[in-house]
């Protein structure tokens, strides 16, 4: 039997945007075991609830991640609103939905670019990011920020988008969709991409469910679970079905993300058609007293917030379980038995966001 060798992978690796370390045990180029170790960029954001007023904590929640920043803020605010029984105006709910879907579009296109880069397809990477720029411009125009938006607050949102601007955004997204389509077709049809991603990193339906995979990893393995179906914000009034692929490999996870870009554009169109007029925030008085689990669908999967208030300005406990964290166990499973050369691609297909994971 060939000798067991351990290859350290990360924390610095060309394919990784962020530091995670894996000890990869191989026998004869085949991975037999992968042992992850985390904690390079722990920031202690959860502990900051001791020092920050619960209203200011929203700014901290947004800074957990630079890609899903909006949805982190939304999750935090929704949890506090639920504890305090605040009725958020409908317009604010729709605006949150629109911004959340825009986040999903830009996150997925960013990931598709990175995937192309990991497969050695530089020009596709650049074109993906060029398309994504349009979404960032929409963010800058409507919220003022490109990465951190700061529009969420407990009780609603801080900025309104006028109805004609919303119509224009739908137009811009249509243009973007037209530009994205040829790129998406490359991901779907191109021989080299297919060859690189197909039958790599298999994760069976049962394993995906048992190990608690979330988001595109779970749906790429044929399980139809999407936290948006819980009907938070305006999702209960929009018409959509979770996107599921059944081939259980890296290719399936790529296709789920490609199709989710189209789905998000469609959701934004629906939301713009249905958005009611009215106020965008609700005045909040008092302090949260009680506890709540808030669940949302981020681009990378389901995120869970737990928060407990004690009737003072500072929360007792604030805990975030981010999607990458739950995808690490499935990742270890996927890596078992793969070729060493496939390891970077497999790690990339869970869309690792390590800053999120370590908060």
């Amino acid at each position: 039997m060939p000798k067991r060798t351990i290859i350290p992978f990360g924390p610095q690796h060309p394919v990784l945007p962020e530091p995670i370390h894996l000890d990869i045990a191989i026998r004869d180029e085949k991975v037999v075991e992968a042992i992850p170790s985390l904690g390079f960029i722990h920031r202690g954001l959860e502990l900051l609830v001791d020092k920050k007023d619960f209203n200011d904590m929203c700014f901290v929640a947004e800074r957990i991640c630079g890609i899903c920043s909006f949805i982190h803020g939304q999750g935090y605010c929704q949890g506090i609103e639920e504890i305090m029984n605040v009725q958020v105006p409908d317009r604010a709910k729709y605006l949150r939905t629109i911004w959340a879907e825009l986040s999903r579009i830009h996150s997925h296109i960013l990931w598709l670019g990175l995937a192309a880069d990991a497969a050695g397809f530089e020009s596709l990477f650049m074109h993906s990011w060029r398309v994504r720029e349009k979404v960032l411009d929409i963010f800058e125009e409507t919220t003022g920020g490109r990465v951190i938006f700061g529009v969420n607050k407990v009780g609603g949102v801080k900025r309104d988008i006028e109805n004609d601007v919303l119509k224009r955004i739908v137009g811009t997204l249509k243009d973007m969709e037209a530009e994205f389509k040829p790129l998406a077709n490359v991901f779907i049809d191109d021989y080299s991409i297919k060859h690189r991603f197909s039958n790599v990193g298999m994760l069976s339906k049962e394993d995906a469910y048992k190990l608690g995979a979330v988001g595109p990893v779970l749906r790429g393995s044929g399980v139809s679970i999407d936290a948006r179906k819980l009907g938070y914000a305006a999702y209960k009034e929009l018409n959509f079905e979770p996107i599921v692929e059944n081939s259980c490999d890296c290719y399936a996870r790529t296709i789920v993300r490609v199709r989710e870009v189209y789905q998000s554009v469609d959701l934004i169109k629906q939301a713009v058609d249905k958005i009611p007029d009215g106020p965008i925030d609700q005045k909040v008085t008092g302090s949260p007293n009680g506890e709540f689990f808030s669940r949302l669908e981020q681009p990378r999967g389901e995120v869970v917030y737990y928060m407990r208030g004690n009737g003072t300005k500072n929360l007792d406990r604030y805990r975030v379980r981010t999607p990458t964290f739950s995808n690490i166990a499935p990742l270890v499973k996927m890596l078992e038995g793969c070729e060493l050369a496939d390891v970077p691609v497999i790690i990339l297909t869970i869309d690792p966001c390590i800053s999120c994971t370590e908060r």
């Binding site: 700014f59 411009d137 920020g145 700061g150 801080k158």
Partner: protein, 130 residues
């Protein structure tokens, strides 16, 4: 009939060669900011009443209000442009401008003398000692 890959590639190359560039020639071509862009915080010094609310609300402690010295100070590298100060100011003298503050190599605290006309900043007195 599927398009010949060579024709497809050539048309893509020509499109991108002749089309507009995706990037801006930055220093030559100035970036255009949106009206909403969160650039930097500006203060109208003749309106401020030094109530210190903004300093208390700022989540990053970027603002210091020096009441005796009649000065409003901001450390721009700390500011995260959350606009909490703009929202809470009772005199509405803080605004968000859409130009980013200039990059710096050392952290500086910008001081604005409040109280028109711009009187020279009062010398710092130490109340404990004569």
């Amino acid at each position: 009939m599927p398009i010949n890959p060579f024709v497809k590639m050539t048309s893509t190359v020509i499109k991108h060669l002749l089309g507009p560039t995706a990037c801006k020639m930055y220093p030559v071509e100035k970036p255009v900011f949106f009206a909403n862009t969160r650039g930097h915080i500006a203060i109208e010094t003749n309106k401020c009443i030094l109530c210190t609310l903004c300093a208390k609300k700022c989540p990053t402690y970027a603002i210091q209000v020096d009441k005796p010295g009649k000065a409003w100070k901001i450390e721009r590298t700390k500011c995260i442009m959350c606009l909490a100060c703009v929202a809470c100011c009772p005199k509405k003298c803080l605004t968000s401008e859409n130009q980013y503050s200039a990059p710096v190599t050392v952290k500086v605290v910008e001081t604005f003398n409040v109280e028109p006309p711009a009187a020279p900043k009062a010398p710092e007195t130490c109340p404990g000692k004569e």
